[in-house]
Symmetry: C2
Subunit: 385 residues, 2 copies
């Protein structure tokens, strides 16, 4: 395995009733900003619970964060944070709410003109506002990592950034909070986490058996539990396993000392920004196509994936790889996700603008071998039509 | 799975050359105590490297920590820490050096009469001295957890204790530092880590597929890489995989939300204290016996272990369990470890004093079901003769 540095200070409270810990974890006499999305937490009772737990704190609310959270909207919160002297951020929601809150955390203390520069100019972060999260949507892993993805809607730019200061101080993972989710969200979350694992696992071997088996363990669990979660929203154990799978898929553990790909995410981000596909929808279309396009360089891990995760017994390596890609597509389909661009009405003529955006964002050498140039991205998109 | 809280702030620097990070991680102008064991780090060059990296710090040395570190000897370091106003502890060694340093960390600031009370009276810890580690012996996982085991030699008491303040601030894991180890130490480390996994895995099912598969992944890796490490000390990848296996076996990840056993360790500690068996030697004798004695209550996990880890295909569950226990014993034997007490000259007549010590230490209800009373411990010891 390759050299690595690991540090992840997020405290996790997992299980029923863990929300009560926020009282102990938020420093006393904090000015808290309670950040959330739409009205779902008001319908399922979580809003009231949070308000009750925040008794004794001086707190403000900022709601309306939408999927693929925008720079423009998040900056309104930054303004509020500055006016109200907020010193703790509590994100209640899924990856979008958490990602937006992470951006608030670094943007509010930024002294330059425009905090967007932190992302595009890759500036180091100085003053940040600590944050905690209450996760309601198992998917992105943002509750236990230091990454965030923000969209600038005026320019259709969807960009990720990572800063060590963005680890949440704590995250509450209570599987019961996911029971009222529409099944579409669970399907998306499972596909997202599955792809997170694949981006860190399906590259080339570097003799990392621990990381490989952890990754395969998460994939197998998502394959087993995903369909159960869709057919029964009230099974606590299933929801718990989905939740812990999605967190461990992107909390750093499986990615230590191994090459990483992330081309599916980079191409997928452009599809989301341009054509409004859900994040997971873009991944379900692009991942199988990347697997196929890069099948030679990924062959050893593709075979390992086929044999260990899908239990494929064929002797022919090519057949194992074909079957593994097909099984992956079938898995996404079984979750109700489309795996072809044309099913979204995207045609060959639309691809040029995707490639143009990749170029604009400097995505000209993607994948673990940096061999996915713009021409290759075009081919990957064509395979996915 | 059960509710859990997870927090592990230790920063890991893994791989060749990572030692250079200690300069950045130890606060400038610290008074450092450099703690180590015998002379092995002087022979293999690590001592000189550490001294070179500590240039610019005011540092003192404390050496001579032995396996199963004693309260008596460690207290000499505590005295030195107080006299010299030490404010950072750097442990360079294996679990014994790190465990001793953890005890120094909490004992030096203790205001009562005797810091041994922290362990036996389970006192909360107040002031601690931060510590970092450079691991030379992959085995105990102490480099990335908050536990320590200390022996009071005057009374033959070997006792463990856990305090959140005892997480190392950082640990340097460079596999090349393990290449000069005698193979006996590698064998012991592999057996120790294998047992750490089993104590957290081989209990009863609570529907925790992620934790189970992570645990199985570590066991499979130890089984594959252990013999390779014994036959070739210079294979970097093998040493790296052993090192990361032993750390992940006891850094908390596989034990989240699952029942835990630890009876093998508790009984084993008494054998070490009374008859001077190595820690790993005591485990290799007792673990198979616990598996056998508790085979009914552990049956589901024993079968899962047999099938997934050892690939046993038999239909009869009893046969799977018998074979799984036998394979475990054979694995320990293949590492050169004895699996019978009589091979150490311990006879039936010696067992009464072991049971007496268990009683003295309150070990009267061991295991994940608390069903191992003193009579059961006696039986487990008898099976192990």
């Amino acid at each position: 395995m390759k050299n690595f540095t690991y540090f992840n200070p997020t405290k996790i409270f997992f299980g029923r009733g863990q929300i009560e810990n926020i009282k102990k974890e938020i420093p006393p006499s904090s000015n808290v900003l309670f950040v959330y999305g739409g009205g779902s937490i008001k319908k399922n009772g979580l809003y009231d619970q949070v308000v009750s737990e925040l008794k004794g704190f001086n707190f403000y609310e900022f709601s309306g964060i939408e999927p693929n959270p925008t720079y423009e909207y998040t900056m309104k919160a930054v303004e509020l944070i500055r006016i109200k002297n907020i010193d703790f951020l509590l994100a209640v929601g899924g990856g979008s709410v958490i990602d937006a809150t992470k951006f608030m955390s670094v943007a509010a203390g930024y002294k330059g003109e425009d905090p967007w520069d932190i992302i595009i100019k890759k500036l180091p972060v100085e003053k940040t506002i600590p944050l905690g999260t209450i996760l309601t949507l198992p998917a992105t892993g943002s509750e236990m990592n230091s990454a965030s993805v923000i969209t600038r809607s005026s320019t259709n730019d969807k960009l990720g950034f990572v800063r060590a200061q963005m680890y949440p101080q704590f995250s509450i993972l209570d599987p019961t909070f996911t029971m009222s989710l529409p099944s579409k969200y669970i399907a998306n979350g499972v596909a997202d986490a599955f792809t997170h694992v694949m981006e860190q696992y399906l590259t080339y071997p570097v003799n990392s058996p621990i990381q490989d088996r952890f990754a395969e363990g998460i994939l197998l669990t998502l394959i087993e539990e995903g369909p159960k979660a869709l057919s029964n929203s009230q099974d606590y154990d299933v929801r718990a396993n989905i939740m812990w799978s999605t967190t461990t898929a992107l909390n750093g553990w499986i990615g230590l000392g191994v090459p990483q790909d992330w081309s599916t995410h980079m191409i997928g981000h452009e599809l989301t920004a341009l054509f409004d596909l859900d994040h997971a929808e873009s991944l379900a279309v692009i991942l199988p196509s990347v697997m196929n396009w890069n099948r030679k360089l990924k062959s050893e891990k593709l075979i390992q994936f086929g044999r260990r995760v899908w239990g494929i017994k064929e002797n022919s390596n090519d057949l194992v790889i074909d079957t593994a890609i097909q099984k992956t597509q079938e898995f996404f389909s079984s979750l109700g996700l489309k795996t072809r661009l044309k099913e979204y009405g995207i045609t060959n003529e639309d691809l040029a603008q995707v490639v143009e955006k990749l170029k604009e964002h400097g995505m000209i050498a993607l994948g673990e071998h940096r061999n996915i140039d713009l021409e290759a991205s075009q081919k990957i998109l064509q395979y996915a039509l």
